[in-house]
Symmetry: C3
Subunit: 357 residues, 3 copies
């Protein structure tokens, strides 16, 4: 059992929820005894009789047939199998979506809630506006002129810079650095180690040296944006770096200055986006993909993990470009040959010419 679901972390007055309460809150068609308690959400493999689980895809049916879960969330065509095995089931057209909502319902109901107010050890500047329902954690620093909206949660060791704005119900996990003048909207989550609004990488070459160009823009982040651990978003050089509503960024991503990321685009871990790239809405970018600067990617584009985008993509689609892995000896031979590929093509052409009357 994981600590997050351990009874020791629950409020003392809380009882375990019952299946009937779950269905009352989230919908779905309950088969079986609504009075059954739920003590955890679990995968089909690790669930026990006090756990609820879900079956997202038909190919996991063997796991369903072997599960010990007390209840399973399933599509209508799996209801019978689930009931036969577990004695209770919740039927819904999209069990994965249901699972996601169930996880949020669970956390809202069972887990710790930050206490509103400013921890005595926090350092708060002049002219700061903190909503009375917001929570400022231990040893946080809120610089002058910053605004923290209702229900926002600022974790321990967070730095919120001068005149920065944190929207309603947005959460900054411990040790986020949110720099001067930057803004984030409502219901966002910034995970530990996130750095928002450091200087973009701007230098003018002069006599063999680099002269710093001060970065005068900010970072503007919309509503419902999640940003993963140790991800960095640089402030703009003159105009702003913009992350639109609903964008989801995983860990260790680099977003350079003046990038714009369109609504509901998601990027997996270790992605890098160079300066002034404009990425459309509803895109997905696989892990460790790299996107060069000053280019555009249209809405609804999908970049495979590990691929390298070097120039503007003119139409939506699914793009890839990764060297296929192989046993080392084979790779060495193919890689060596690759360095002569253009020559091979010429030799092939010469042969074709010879054989064409």
């Amino acid at each position: 059992m994981t600590a997050r679901q351990d009874p020791s972390t629950r409020g003392t007055a809380l009882a375990w929820p019952r299946l009937s309460e779950l269905v009352a809150a989230l919908g779905g068609e309950l088969h079986g005894d609504g009075a059954r308690e739920v003590r955890r959400i679990a995968s089909l493999e690790s669930a026990d009789a006090q756990a609820i689980s879900f079956l997202a895809q038909a190919r996991f049916r063997p796991q369903l047939e072997a599960t010990s879960a007390g209840c399973v969330v399933v599509r209508p065509d799996m209801a019978e199998v689930a009931l036969a095995r577990c004695g209770a089931a919740i039927v819904t057209p999209d069990p994965y979506l249901y699972y996601g909502r169930m996880s949020r319902w669970w956390v809202a109901r069972q887990c710790r809630v930050p206490v509103p107010g400013v921890h005595a050890s926090a350092v708060v500047g002049e002219g700061v506006h903190i909503h009375p329902t917001a929570s400022i954690g231990p040893l946080a620093v809120i610089e002058s002129g910053a605004r923290i909206a209702e229900g926002a949660v600022i974790g321990s060791h967070v730095h919120v810079g001068f005149d920065a704005e944190i929207g309603a119900h947005t959460r900054l996990a411990p040790r986020v650095a949110f720099s001067d003048g930057c803004r984030i909207g409502a219901r966002g989550i910034l995970h530990s180690g996130v750095v928002i609004g450091t200087d973009g990488f701007g230098f003018a070459p002069f006599e063999g040296c680099w002269e710093k160009i001060e970065q005068l823009g900010i970072v503007r982040i919309g509503d419902d944006v999640d940003i993963g651990a140790n991800t960095c978003v640089d402030r703009g050089a003159l105009d702003d770096t913009v992350i639109e509503d609903g964008v989801k960024l995983d860990n260790l991503i680099q977003i350079a200055h003046n990038v714009r990321i369109g609504k509901h685009t998601a990027m997996a871990g270790c992605v890098g986006v160079a300066g002034s790239a404009r990425i459309g809405a509803h895109c997905t970018v696989g892990g460790a993909a790299m996107i060069l600067g000053h280019l555009e990617i249209p809405d609804h584009t999908h970049i495979s993990a590990g691929s390298f985008v070097m120039s503007t993509l003119t139409k939506p689609g699914h793009y890839s470009g990764v060297f296929p892995i192989d046993d080392n000896a084979t790779w060495e031979k193919n890689a060596a040959t690759l360095r002569q590929l253009h020559t091979l093509r010429s030799r092939l052409r010469a042969l074709e010419k010879k054989l064409t009357p």
Copy 2:
């Protein structure tokens, strides 16, 4: 208007600067009314009548012809166009360089200056030497024996380790970790999340396990070095890791133990450099390029973004090696064929042999 340039963030006694003051400070040939106020620096597209902008390259002439800027910095051949459109222009041979200097002049003149002294919440060890003009931010920790030189700025939540040395006018942004005994020279900038001087990755294999090798070197950083957010530089195993004067490192870069980076070399985000690599001076390394260990790269070498350096490069030049991106279906076919490339070459050879009398 970005928060950094917002009047609310300026000292109350400051007036907006005039074009004549700008030219008096930075040079250039002013055409138009020197009494005009400047309220912000902006790109040609977003500038208004109170903004100054610049035209770095002739290909952006259409933006110049459409700008609403009150003044534009241009090369001599664009002076006439600029004056016709904006009514004021500053003529200089290198507008981009001028823009960089203007940005620094602006920040020095208009932006907040850290207050000298040690914040009451900072924790300072014994035998620490802090120059009276230096600024130590809230909740910083300065361990025993550290030295902070004149005009240095230590941000909130920074950790400066035992016996570490921070040079004159160097700035450590909030949440930098600068480890025991490491040194940085003058006028450097370490951005939030930077980690200097953690242990290099050194282990001796023994009976299927890894035994830690303590890392006894330090990190030595020269003058005028900028290091981006969440970048890591490991301490040396025995000798030191060395970053020479004027080096610029972007965000999320990994510099392993005993690397040496020559003067004025610049690296874009997400680059990795493995142990004991020696990189020359005046090199550029594109984003996400990777450099293996125990190799050398000569001065004035340019590595394209995403490229992988596996062995010593013997002469300066421009090197690349990235898999070209394509639509996924095409990539799949080409990648599959690539795994047989060496065989294809053999088949081509066989054909050539057959056709050569």
Copy 3:
């Protein structure tokens, strides 16, 4: 001389160790005067008469013949050369292993030891169990229910979440974030900027948006695990993310939710591992290699730096897949041809057909 070995950082009462003490502690066959003092460990090139060095591989013999070291650790076949040059030698079958142990012996004997107890500026929640021999640094935050075992060291600005567990003699460097409920065993080292237990990247798509899936698992880390600066390990979605005993992770690595890494596997910097990948024991993963999710890598597998693992590897071995770097002009031609590789193969086939009677 590096600061870590500088006399100023030593306890005042300590004398320099003698060769006889070193051999008494670590074994090996001493040739020469055991009363000689050792003032530092150094590479063959930078050693002076007060330093001890080592020769790990025969190919470095020229450095041995030129060293100024006062003593060198060598294999039996190099004893004579070492004695002739330095006047003292320690003979042992594996000098590199000996060097590693010597480095740890040195640090244990000569370097600062954290003071047990809780620094006055630390913030400690209710129901926290801190062993009296543990050390909690300045401005650390230990949330309610956390357990810190004997001899553990918690650096400055560290955040230890609710109910988290830190094992005996494990060290968290300044500015580690160790999230709620996560656990690490004994003798581990987490370097500055490490983030353990932030939410995995889990979202359910719904009508063009992403709905967050709460991450209810934890991170479970075994004994003797080292994790490098700014590396991130996400908590599991339902089950846990697991890092087994003896694993060594370098800097800036991303470990996604529900990954399992087997015993004594080592990964170099900038590696990414996507969700639910299962990596065997005794593997090595080179720097910047990327491993996709929901796949398996068997024990004793070696992935070259920069390689991209897209699917399960069924047998142990050495795997690679990196685009070979070249001068830019050659790369451009080869990369362009690569985009037609499948077509080239077809043309080759056509020729072969024509020429086969």
